[in-house]
Symmetry: D3
């Protein structure tokens, strides 16, 4: 979503990303990357007797994939300020397919080169259930950064 | 930190985790896992001319590793409610070493089996700079869950 | 590049991708994924005495990353027909930064729903040297495929 | 196959590799490595309604694994010149098992230390269907390179 | 288990770890990491006709995960001396869940700062079958190493 | 080494493998795979003040890579019995290059289809230092297993 310069963004703009199936591979690789092997994510036997009856995808994984699906463009995003009201609304299970939906909810000028933009982000599954909700705040350039790459 | 049942947790308790060096491997593997190859994280040439002069570790990676360092125990953590006021205070660079520090800042009863606990989490680097700050809220059991595993 | 329906593509159109630094991590992970540990890619001692004086990035890795940088959109690309004249023009070394450049060089109708498009692809490094060249042929839809995702 | 010096290779020589099952893990890790998350490879819901009815293994993944199965020996292979007529003949699906078959189809001298050898390579699945075909050209040494490693 | 200083360890102490499901992802990633693609681990077709009727998890993978589950603490473990009598008692299959059980079987002083401790380690599956057995010998500190990390 | 049927193996046969540089990527990926983030392997700051002055490659990683370099052939290796006298003789550091050397030290018949073979395995670095030593015992077929794969 954040591939437009500050002046072209306006409150109420919405966008919907492509989708991705969250596989057992993603869950195991995320345990490996973070070092968190909490059994609800990594132990199928333990998880059978949990309230979910199966392993649950890590909330942190849903967040970082949803964040990536949101879509950033280096030419306009200057900095990532923070996240508020991150909520895990429903569990995501292995083989669920998620996509991101977003809407710009606030913007304000910051000097003459940038603006600050806040977007609501939801991660939504194949049953059209919102599984994650949060607000993102970014520093956005007024002018697209031009990177010279010498095309032929 | 969250390896005690609800009754043994009290406001003001602090904990400090082990540390981990964030390597180029972590940064590349995280690009791969999330699918976000924003050039400030993945393009060394582009990053040389950025305000940081080098590639920056993804805020999301610092967050999920800090989260894992925080320490959860399946026997007491029943659910992960959400995160508030997540702020990226300073950049983390490749080869920085981070650890997590936490402090319990709120707790309240929830029925007779659980309580809700909020902790402040900071991720701190080898220069003793806070690079990330957020508040975590978890559902904690009053009684440790006993998992039978037939030790000899 | 291939994010336009067949009718909007024309011979001579050019595009230039973002860039990515090829790290030691990429080289090691690619050895792992393919199972090919040829020493010129994986043994720094052996490679010191080779004609290159150092490890060389796998040609196959440059090809598949260049291919990904080329940019495909599921809504218009129906099938991947093949590749011709794939040539490794210069070695890529660990820490080189590459991007893709492309130009449409042929197109022909295929039935009333598709067309076949051939593009020249180059992978170019930070010294503006072409390191790989090939021709790609794709089956492209005349109408963009609409995927419903229930945005709010 | 390419583990013999130039003089011992002759047109018509054939070889058949071991096999490997292409798993969901390979497909997800390859999306991660390349950064290409085209939905026909990564979104199970999207793929159900495609002409294949399921996710398809990336052609590039079949190519690089087939290439690795082909078998190279650092002691005789000096350089990888290129690939021609790469064709994706049939789709490969998750859990298909593939192996490589090859046949030398051309050779010519190059100076007094090397020769150039072209081999036809096919990747074949467990139903004995050819799924990929291409021609490889390599620079091969006349004398095996001896690497001293001080065996006891 | 090895998170106590030498003086607090005594022969006969037992411990039981958390569990982890060994997934296809772990098996494929371990093939990649080691470079060993022996078909009994990586080729589902080949493995169907083996004495096990399916792919078998690598003994080395069960060993290194069992070793990690055993639990080490940098503050007390100074060095890893070796392993004896490593035996693979039963096969582990994809989707089995394993945990580690250990018992201290020998200890002896080494200077005034350390002791040497030997523990029996078993890896046990969800059917309560011992699948791996070995003896570990470690150099353990008499005083816990204090690492300063400046908690607030 | 273990690519010959039982009858062709004899006590005193030696073999030397190719080499591989152990990278930071291998060390980080192995922490991830095993879940063991002991700071001597993963925290560069902590390791500076250790007796080694730097991070040390995991003994388990040296073992499983040395094991893979040893070389197994599915056509003759029927089972992996165990490992004895595994000793970590010297530390391996990031960017060391290792290879495996082996010698058959015992063999005995087992029924009319197999024999049991024990080999001494050493892992040796680029300074020709033995860093790991162990004994491997394998069940080897008397007749090579023929796998039909329908070569053209």
């Amino acid at each position: 979503m954040m591939n437009l310069p500050y002046g072209e963004l306006s409150i109420g703009q919405k966008k919907c990303s492509h989708g991705r199936t969250i596989t057992e591979t993603d869950v195991v690789n995320f345990c490996g990357l973070t070092g968190n092997w909490l059994e609800i994510h990594s132990n199928a036997e333990f998880s059978k007797s949990s309230m979910y009856g199966q392993r649950v995808v890590q909330g942190g994984l849903v967040f970082v994939i949803g964040n990536a699906m949101f879509g950033f463009d280096s030419a306009v995003v200057e900095a990532f300020y923070g996240v508020d009201k991150l909520r895990f609304l429903k569990p995501t299970f292995i083989n669920d397919t998620i996509h991101a939906e977003s809407e710009i909810i606030a913007k304000r000028d910051k000097g003459d080169k940038h603006g600050i933009v806040t977007a609501q982000l939801w991660v939504v599954n194949q049953r059209n259930e919102k599984v994650l909700s949060c607000e993102f705040t970014l520093l956005i350039r007024r002018e697209r950064l031009i990177v010279e790459r010498n095309p032929e």
